[in-house]
Amino acid sequence: TEPQQKKELTEIKFGYQPSTHQIAYLTAKDKGMWNTSLAPLGIVKTSDNLFPSGAPEMTAMLSGDLDVAYVGAAPFISALSEGLDAKIVAAVQVQGSDLVVRTGVPYEKPEDLKGLKIATFPPGTIQDTLLRNWLKTNNIDPDRDVTILPMTSADAVTAISAGQVDAVFLPHPSPTEIKEKGYGRTVIQSGEIMPNHACCVVVVSGDLIKNHPEVVKQIVKTHVDATEYNNAHPDEAAQIYAADQQMNITIVQHSINEWDGTWVSDPHLIVNSTVDYANIQYELGYIKKPLTEKDIFDMSFYDSLQN
């Protein structure tokens, strides 16, 4: 039945999240790159779903509702350990989260964080893992010396604005927003904590990889092109994002100017941090089996483009 399946593939379903990290997807969509590049392969339709966080996106992929997902590496790893059949085929971006301390709370050095309430994404996310590791390396016990509160970015911004938490560790554009409103200041960027740490990635379902490698290759190529276009035209990227999200363009632009993140597509850049990350998760008991580079990545598509 496999060849039959091949013939039937006419639609590609994407998933993405509202984040400046993933503008590459939007740029490609805005410029019609997905449709033009995939049409010759028999794809007559591309559709997408917008997810507020990675967990439902991965659930949707598990149930076969998505072919391609722009998603954080963390939810992907935990879904992978629970039996998701998919691989990372390209990176989307590295770095790009800030530790923001509330206005009026003094901060000179990491020790100053002792006794404070810090909001970040829930356990298992890149942000939570990075923050905890960084605190540990600075001799701060993340469980005793500080209170880490798991929140969504929206709740965390509300909480710091209302003075309910003292610091937040969040991906962009939230840090810029907090700063623009005058509620806090960035004290450290995630690139300083772990250079080139993985964040968002392109995940493709195992089915597509096995049965339609040529389509996957074209998807990776389009992603690489869009990423390059964004890096060359950051203002236009900001505009595309602001339009899609009906967001204030200046905040987006400021965010893109200030962050330490980089839009990349080369998956090799993030291999080490991702595998490290998976190991930490395994040690914490968050995932049930150790994962290797082979389990997580399929670089063949990206590599074949380079030759």
Partner: protein, 275 residues
Amino acid sequence: MIKKIIHAVKSRAVETISIVSALLLWQMTADLIVRNKFFLPSVLDVISAALMIVQRPSVLEIGALAIEIPVVLVDLLQSLLHFSIGMVAALFVGIPVGMIMGWFTTLNRVLDPIIEMLRPIPPLAWIPFAIIWLGLTPVSAGFLIFIGAVFPIIINTFTGLKNVPRIYVEAAKVLGCRQDRDLIRYVALPSALPSIAAGIRIAMGVGWMCLVAAEMFGVSKYGLGFKIWHHYHLHQMDLVLVYMMVLGLLGLLIDKTLRYVIDEHLLKWQAGVVR
């Protein structure tokens, strides 16, 4: 015509005053006490934001058709779709199940433990299963609304049927209404109607509440609930409030319609029996 309106306003004077003073209180709290548009946008902020979304056009696609209408209308229709799926399912499941449980003691004992186990499980907790079982479709959103709405209907239908005055059942029996089906239809149902109606009202409320949960996991890119999250993530609290208000007003409208139908048509006889 104008006279009619004046009359309508007059007869609704209490309600109007009540709403107007609530709005005034809000405006004043926002202006004088909170003084932070992010924490609590004022009424005027909300109105200007509302004007914005009413003017911003969007495209509604129905099959091959594409109509350009204000974005808020698209959201509204999308949400109504989700809501109707959930409510209709809840009515079709809840009323029969509640009736069966209220009427047949044995079946009550069979169903009760299962329902009581499922009942406290929150709609939010069903999200993963909704995605897995039903996919990213409006049915999936409807399912979450169903989960929220079905139990109030079951419980109030059950309570209503449990409390049918014995004399009516006996009177019907000696008049030859012997089958349970008929007894339920001709006696228990009308007698339990006030309670069932209250259950439906509650269910609509809870279902409407669940709309926001139902639209938070990517089933659509439109919808009132979706937009609340969307604007909340962007920290546009004035728009969050606009959508909350639209949600509230629409919920109000649905509820009023329901009450009108129930009080005027189904429970007319009640007026003289109760206080």
